[in-house]
């Protein structure tokens, strides 16, 4: 049976696991119909021109893991940012792990979607925010909504600083021959509030995993959010991550995406600016090898005046890997005095690597500052020669230059321990030991 049919027919089995007498379930029921109509994206769609899901949709995925799995913390400790205090919301094969988690309801809520969806305490939040900004023309969103049951729920009330970063970790154990998971996260940052979030997907074996994740983020007036995505999964794991951010006036949101691993990774990242003097920042470092395929599809929707957006994506593509950057900036007629900057710089390390870079600017206002720039090049030979004359061998010299190339994205990571971790991941990915932590 094709994956699409399998998903549709398993919806009945899914209904037995959830409370169907609930407003959310109406959304689910509608969503499964939408998915049936729309289906998975195809290459003929403009937004999917360079990314085909065919190879990953062929697997016979298990949709509901048979049993709960336990993992020993020591075996997965390295995937946590463990040298600072954090709250952790951890899932194993899509199921919440209380043993690995450290949730809270003290001043802020960092807990589970499953409880938020059905607890009277959060009814108003769910009504106000759940599934409000996910574009409805996407089959993948519909699919996720149809099966929405579990994920992270983070609610930072008004005038509150989250006292520590929150980690969202999704492990897959490989207990199933192939597994599909669909986390659904909801993050609400109240007026004048502040939070930092780190998200990671990690499979623990070489069994195929497909994650179709949807995250909705709402930043109220003057809220501040920094969101970091670490995508360093095994070569058998694929990820479709859709993250939607709605911002109110004077809020600041940044999303950093570090894409080093995974077979196929597609990031849909969209910002909607509903208020004045908003700042939206998205940055990414992508380093690929083998036959990896990593796609960044971004949108900033400038709806109101006096807002800013900053996009800075760096990519280093090796072997036969493929990268896609499709960045759209849409400036509405009312959005005067918009400042929108976009930059996408790429280095092709191998002759057989490919990058498709497609900046799109649609500007309907006449008093704006918008710029975009895209470069594709190789490592600078003169710079390599310089490093080699200092006794640094070619491999290490290349790594240093790649690191230097990606540096300004790393520079804006505000959690020092996280920055250090990412530096280590980069050194690992480039397979070098430079004798100091990058």
């Amino acid at each position: 049976m094709e994956l699409k049919d399998k998903l549709i027919s398993s919806f009945f089995a899914f209904e037995e696991q959830v409370d169907v007498n609930n407003d959310v379930h109406e959304l689910r029921s509608k969503a499964i119909k939408d998915f049936e109509t729309i289906g998975f994206p195809r290459k003929k769609e403009e937004d999917w021109k360079y990314t085909s899901l065919n190879s990953i949709l062929k697997e016979d995925y298990s949709l509901f893991p048979k049993k709960e799995s336990a993992i020993d913390y020591n075996d997965v400790k390295k995937y946590f940012i463990h040298d600072i205090d954090t709250y952790c919301i951890v899932f194993i094969d899509g199921i919440y792990s209380s043993q690995l988690s450290n949730t809270t309801h003290d001043k802020i809520d960092a807990c589970l979607m499953s409880s938020a969806l059905h607890s009277p305490k959060y009814k108003a939040i769910i009504e106000n925010y759940f599934d409000k900004i996910t574009p409805k023309d996407s089959g993948l969103n519909a699919l996720n909504t149809a099966f929405s049951k579990e994920g992270a729920f983070i609610n930072i009330p008004k005038n509150t600083m989250a006292d520590r970063p929150i980690q969202i970790l999704n492990f897959s154990t490989g207990n199933e021959a192939a597994l599909m998971v669909q986390p659904r996260n909801l993050i609400v940052v109240g007026e004048n509030s502040h939070v930092q979030i780190i998200e990671r997907h990690q499979s623990l074996t070489e069994n195929p995993v497909l994650t179709n994740s949807v995250t909705e983020i709402y930043a109220e007036k003057r809220a501040q959010l920094d969101y970091y995505k670490i995508q360093n999964d095994k070569g058998s794991a694929s990820l479709i991550d859709s993250t939607y951010v709605e911002q109110k006036q004077e809020s600041f949101c940044s999303v950093h995406t570090f894409s080093f691993g995974g077979k196929l990774v597609r990031n849909n990242l969209q910002f909607f600016q509903r208020g004045e003097r908003i700042d939206s920042t998205m940055k990414g470092v992508t380093i690929t090898e083998g036959k990896q395929h990593i796609d960044h599809n971004t949108l900033v929707h400038h709806i109101e005046p006096n807002c800013e957006s900053h996009q800075d994506y760096k990519g280093i593509y090796g072997d036969k890997s493929t990268g896609v950057f499709n960045g759209k900036v849409l400036v509405e007629k009312e959005a005067q005095k918009t400042n929108a900057f976009q930059s996408n710089n790429n280095i092709l390390v191998s002759d057989k690597a490919t990058i498709n870079s497609k900046p799109q600017l649609e500007i309907f206002a006449d008093d704006v500052k918008c710029s975009h720039g895209c470069t594709i090049g190789q490592l600078d030979e003169e710079a390599l020669f310089y490093l080699k004359t200092r006794g640094i061998p070619a491999k290490e010299a290349r790594a240093l230059l790649m690191y230097a190339f990606a540096n300004n994205v790393l520079d804006s990571v505000k959690i020092p321990e996280l920055k250090q971790r990412i530096n280590k991941l980069i050194a690992q990915k480039l397979n070098v030991n430079l004798g100091f932590d990058l």
């Binding site: 020669f385 080699k388 004359t389 004798g435």
Partner: protein
């Protein structure tokens, strides 16, 4: 220390060096002068091992070993150093960390263990004092946003740290004000010893007032056409290169 015999080199098929012969002994300072486009910088790069420059003929012998086939980093491990006219910027990598990597990679190639941290710090402190380099400077990203003078001072600092046998200084005086020139030259002079040698490549006599050469060579159209003592540099400063060009033409 260094013997260059009948060295020919081409860049993109065009012959730039047309038979260079040069012998440099330990303890000596040689200056190589010549007009623009005579091949001075090419000579420096070919000795240091730049891949894009094809050595079509001749030998480069460093301490009885032919090094023509070695990569630039392998030549560095054997004690060749080149100070760049335009040093490269490496954002995110501090001067200190860069030096640690360079020194420890060299030690690794020589079969030595990493330099102990304490020894490294001591060395960095000593050598930065020699070049009058501020501590804060060492934690800045390599060459990023450095002024011309800072870049050159940093090049000589690297030379001091790596303690090469043969140092080639390519246009080290360009872009330097008089104070920076004094500091850089002082550094080079203090690093001179009976065991190492320095090749100074320059357009102008100015630098040679500070780093006094034992020999001066004039490079013209890819060949060394005159060699002499430091007085040759003075003559060039006063009279330019035309007289040599004339003489060479007559001889030709």
């Amino acid at each position: 220390m260094l013997k260059i015999k009948n060295l020919h080199a081409s860049v993109e098929g065009k012959e730039i060096l047309k038979g260079i012969n040069l012998e440099i002994n330990a303890g000596e300072v040689h200056a190589i002068m010549g007009p623009n486009g005579s091949g001075k910088s090419t000579l420096a790069s070919v000795i240091a091992g730049k891949e894009e420059y094809e050595q079509t003929n001749g030998e480069i012998i460093l301490e009885n070993e032919e090094i023509s086939e070695l990569e630039a980093d392998e030549r560095a491990h054997k004690g060749v150093f080149m100070s760049f006219q335009y040093p490269v910027e490496i954002p995110g990598v501090s001067v200190t960390n860069f030096m640690k990597t360079a020194i420890n990679e060299t030690r690794k190639a020589q079969g030595l263990k990493d330099m102990p941290a304490k020894e490294m710090l001591k060395k960095i402190r000593e050598k930065s004092e020699l070049l009058e380099i501020d501590r804060k400077f060492l934690s800045r990203s390599l060459n990023e946003g450095f002024s011309g003078g800072e870049k050159k001072r940093n090049e000589i600092f690297q030379m001091a740290m790596l303690e090469p046998k043969l140092s080639i200084l390519d246009e080290t005086d360009s872009g330097l004000d008089i104070d920076a020139l004094r500091i850089v030259s002082n550094g080079v002079n203090k690093l001179r010893s009976k065991d190492n040698a320095v090749v100074v490549i320059t357009h102008y006599q100015r630098l040679l007032d500070y780093i006094v050469p034992d020999y001066v060579h004039v490079l013209l159209d890819g060949k060394i056409v005159r060699s002499g003592g430091k007085e040759l540099a003075h003559k060039l400063e006063e009279q330019g290169y035309d007289w040599i060009k004339e003489e060479v033409k007559v001889e030709g």
